[in-house]
Symmetry: C2
Subunit: 211 residues, 2 copies
C-alpha cells in the first residue's frame, strides 16, 4: 500500500507544485493539501485523514510549522513530519527538528531529492543531510539550545529592543535599575552575548520581538 502524504503550505502555488511532484511517485499518494497548521489539525480529527508523512512549511499564518509540529509530535506521534522551507536561519531549522520533525528540505528541492527524502523517512524514520546533521551536533554540544529564559526575562527583552535606557525600562517595569541589569546580565551569560545589540538580534531571530 502507498504511503499517504499531506502537504501543508500557505503558498497555494508551492502547495500544488509540491503536491504535484509527490503525486508522480508510485510509492506515495497525496492525501490532501492544507494551507496552514490549523487546517491540518481540523482534518486530523477524522482518523481517516491521518497520513504517514506531513510535508510542513515553517512560516505560516494562523498556526506555524513549529507549533503544529509540536502538537503533532504529542498527539499523533506516528505521523512523520518533514520540514519544508525556503531558507531559514539555523535556529528555525533546529526548532523544527526539536519540535519533532524527522528532517528538513529546501522548497526548491529537485524531484529526485524529494523522493529520496520521503523514502528515507519511511525506511529509516529520518532524513538528515550533512548540513542538518552538523547543525544537530553543534546544538547538542553548544548548550546554547537552552533558550530557557524566564518569563520576567522575556518581558525585559521586549523593552531592551527599544531605544529606552535601562533606567527607563526599570521605570516601565516598576523595578530598580539594578534588577533589570540583573536580568540583562543573566541573559548575557545564558546566551553568551556581549552587549545589547546581541540581545536585540537574539530576540528578533527567535521571534521574541518583531522589528
Amino acid at each position: 500500500m502507498k504511503n499517504s502524504i499531506v502537504v501543508v503550505d500557505d503558498h497555494t502555488l508551492l502547495l500544488q507544485a509540491i503536491g504535484g511532484m509527490v503525486k508522480d511517485f508510485k510509492e506515495f499518494e497525496v492525501n490532501y493539501l492544507c494551507k496552514n497548521g490549523q487546517e491540518l489539525l481540523d482534518k486530523l480529527k477524522n482518523p481517516a485523514n491521518i497520513p504517514d508523512i506531513v510535508l510542513m512549511d515553517i512560516n505560516m499564518p494562523v498556526l506555524d510549522g513549529i507549533e503544529t509540529t509540536e502538537i503533532l509530535s504529542r498527539e499523533y506521534p506516528q505521523i512523520k513530519v518533514l520540514a519544508l522551507s525556503v531558507e531559514e536561519n539555523e535556529d528555525t531549522i533546529l526548532k523544527m527538528l526539536r519540535a519533532g520533525a524527522k528532517g528538513y528540505l529546501m522548497k526548491d528541492t529537485k524531484r529526485s531529492i524529494l523522493k529520496e527524502a520521503l523514502l528515507q523517512v519511511v525506511e529509516k524514520g529520518y532524513y538528515h543531510t550533512n548540513t542538518v546533521s552538523k547543525l544537530l551536533v553543534n546544538s547538542l554540544s553548544n548548550q546554547t539550545d537552552d533558550i530557557c529564559l524566564k518569563e520576567r526575562e522575556k518581558e525585559f527583552l521586549q523593552h531592551a529592543c527599544t531605544e529606552m535606557t535601562y533606567k527607563e525600562i526599570a521605570d516601565k517595569m516598576f523595578l530598580s535599575p539594578k534588577t533589570v541589569e540583573g536580568y540583562r546580565d543573566s541573559i548575557y551569560e545564558k546566551l553568551n552575548i556581549r552587549n545589547r545589540i546581541g540581545l536585540v538580534l537574539f530576540a528578533i531571530r527567535n521571534g521574541l520581538f518583531k522589528p
Copy 2:
C-alpha cells in the same frame, strides 16, 4: 501575436510553476526561464530573446531583482517588469517600483489575478493594486523615504548591527574609531534616534540588514 514573457526566479519549483501558469494563457507565451538576473542579461544579448514582459523575483543570488530591474530600465526600457515575491517589506517593494517595475505580485497569486495583471501591464503599462498605490502615495508624501545615507554610512550601519564595539568596527573598516563615531552621529541626527538600538531597528526595518 502573443506577448512573450520571461520568468526570472532562483527557486526552480516556483519558476516552473509560474511558467506553467503563463503557458496556459492564450494571450501570452513563455519565451524562456532564468534562475537569476545575470542569466537574463546574458540571454538578452541576443535580440531575439527580448520579451515583452519579465516576471522578476526580488531575492536572487548573483544579481538580484532590484539591480536587474535598474539595468533593464536603462538598457531595455521597452521591457515591462513585474515584481514577483513572497512577502517583502514595504521598502523592498518600493525599491522595485522605483527601479522601474510596472507592478508587484505576490507569488501565491491565483491564475486569474496573474492573468489580470499581465493583461493590465500590456494595456495600461502598469498594474497597481490598492496596496501598492497606497505605498507609492505614502512614499511620496512621507519625507521619511529620504533614507539618504551615504555609501560609507550604510557600510558602517551593517557593522553596527553586530556585537562589535565601535573600536572593532573601526578596525574592520580601516578607519579611526573617531571617524566611525562620526558616521554614527550623523546617522543619529538624520534619523532622529538616540542610541545604537535605534540604529539596528532602522537598518532591519528598512531592509538594510537581515537579522
